[in-house]
Symmetry: C2
Subunit: 237 residues, 2 copies
């Protein structure tokens, strides 16, 4: 039975930092753990947006397409959607939204999924460019990456709020992706202004991390917590 | 069905640091998630050792007793025992053991349960002293705590190795407790020398953290990651 009180995360944000970009879970398997979420593909090839059981890839060329079941991902977070909050939002900047949602729904120390469906007066995304082995570090790989903008866009924001204690395992704070309804604009969300939208928040009691413990590069890596923290702040915000 | 590829952890080590010592899960519920593990009780009242489905409390007065089903815990980690490694150990210091087990079983970036049954030429434990609200911080509460020693002791070490990336959520590295076979010596393990014993290692693909998201003190706390890291290194090693 699908559990709705758990975020399932494959991999860690930390493993992307030194450049462990090989996919270690298939999209097919990932979707058995959730029907909404975010991630990246094998080779850091773009941004993954998962909505209502369909996983999409936003690529560095600006194109969006549905991900095949056998494509693989080094990092992704998913959950089965069953929001415990549904609220209208109107004329709200990103900063005002983030402050409001943390305060109103007491997110500070709680994992939550955030989904916002509606119209956005402004959206800015970026998309990680596909890498080839031997991989660079995350900060090097994302030093130059295409950004995309839209005005008066209809679409969906999907992602998570995580307690800052879990920075490294994941992104502490907000980590949001976007996909427009017409699939012309997508990616990791850098900025947005809400026009009219519906917010759905789902609080989770459980955070389940699934690690690629059969992956040789993962087993061998010597991670550095301070470097991971700094790289996440640089590359994922 | 009992899952043997997952560590279930209630709470975080981080929440103990500012003094959130109120129990937020019953022993009865905890034992539905595992039959071996470690933890602490409501009010930081001693050290919890869980072996083969029985949860024991080692108290600051040196006494050990079985924990009742309705007693509660602020922090605990458990799993259902199904080791994938069983190996004899002989004449091994703690330092030599830790180096050997990380290298031989490739633990660096992997969660694993460690259980060692046998005779120990030396064992040193400490036991956190029971606190009363309003609670002190973890470092203050454990500044003076009783230590216990044994020589030629038969008993069991139980605990975990966690990747250092998860320091804060849990203890990065080893976190081991001890209980003697005659229940005369128990606690958080400060040092040991193995005489003759059997090591069991169980690697986990999954780490599942269950947070007390209905606990008011937890929701209100403003955690400080750097302070948590420092306090764990001081109080839990």
């Amino acid at each position: 039975m699908a559990t709705t009180d758990t975020i399932f995360q494959h991999g860690t944000l930390g493993l992307l930092v030194p450049g462990l970009f090989d996919g270690t879970i298939t999209a097919k398997e990932l979707l058995t753990h959730g029907d909404n979420g975010i991630g990246t593909l094998n080779g850091l090839d773009g941004e993954v947006i998962i909505l209502d059981g369909h996983a999409y890839q936003a690529r560095e060329d600006g194109q969006v397409s549905e991900i095949g079941p056998d494509e693989s991902l080094p990092f992704a977070s998913v959950h089965f959607q069953k929001p415990d909050v549904s609220a209208p939002l109107s004329q709200l900047s990103q900063a005002a939204f983030e402050e409001k949602v943390v305060a109103d729904y007491r997110l500070t120390n709680v994992f939550a999924a955030i989904r916002i469906d509606g119209t956005f007066s402004y959206v800015k995304t970026r998309v990680a460019p596909r890498q080839q082995p031997p991989y660079k570090t995350l900060v090097e790989a994302t030093a130059t990456q295409p950004e995309f903008e839209g005005h008066a866009v209809q679409g969906s924001i999907i992602g998570y709020y995580a307690p800052h204690l879990f920075q490294g395992a994941t992104v502490g704070g907000f980590h949001l992706h976007f996909l427009s309804a017409d699939h012309q604009l997508g990616g990791h969300l850098l900025g947005f202004d809400i026009d009219q939208a519906t917010l759905k928040v789902q609080h989770f009691a459980n955070f389940k991390v699934h690690l690629p413990i059969d992956n040789e590069a993962y087993l061998q890596e010597r991670f550095d917590n301070a470097a991971i923290d700094s790289a996440i702040n640089k590359a994922e915000r």
